[in-house]
Subunit: 136 residues, 2 copies
């Protein structure tokens, strides 16, 4: 096959097909997608195209890939539908300026700073950790 991609490119068509299988439950949440080599056989596409299709699913939050293990289907849960991250636990403590902070605040390295720390959680997992520093 040369490379005709009138309309939608192949990687997108393949992504749509795989998406259907996940959303319809043919591939159960947490379940493993077929290996890339298996998918190349099924769709008669090159591995690069298959990988690109899977990348689409990852970007959409429908799948997660682990080096050496495979690609797992995610539960199409609430967070895919714009649910806000659950912020939590704002804590405060005193820390000492590292080199970068010292330069920015124009103080000596080691000077005491106030640090506010917050964590956002998404689906039971820590998604972001934020540390905000200011002078005392």
């Amino acid at each position: 096959m040369p490379t005709p991609h009138y309309g939608q490119p192949r990687y997108r068509l393949i992504a749509n097909e795989l998406r259907k299988r996940i959303e319809s439950g043919v591939i159960t949440p947490g379940g493993l997608l077929p290996a890339e080599t298996a998918l190349t056989a099924e769709f008669r596409a090159s591995r690069g195209t298959i990988r690109r299709a899977i990348a689409v699913l990852r970007d959409d939050g429908l799948a997660t890939t682990a080096h050496g293990r495979g690609t797992f289907a995610n539960a199409p849960s609430s967070e895919a539908r714009g649910a806000k991250p659950q912020a939590s636990s704002l804590s405060r403590r005193e820390v000492h300026a590292d080199a970068e902070l010292a330069a920015l605040f124009e103080v000596q390295v080691g000077v005491a700073l106030i640090e506010l720390r917050s964590v956002t959680i998404q689906g039971g997992k820590v998604e972001t950790v934020t540390r905000t520093y200011r002078l005392r």
Copy 2:
């Protein structure tokens, strides 16, 4: 060259180099990046690798690509980010998890994380420095 990617993969190194040029102003906001074929010559990398590097910049919001026209540098200013206080420059880099971050993210100490750093300025003085960490 076979495929030695000890440490960081080539597409990431190239992305970092291009990022520097944008953030330092070597490529002015709105300006055009060199064409992919030009970058293949400069970095002695295949076009696929160059395209992958540019994709990283797009994902980071640093560049925009238009079919047939080229890839443009975006102003590294604060975009759709809920309009925080004063002029805060946002920069991104990779860091290694310290003990606390490792515990929160449930990874090994030293694992690579993404750090977004922003600074708020009040009357010419740095008021706060915020570091937000996320898994890669």
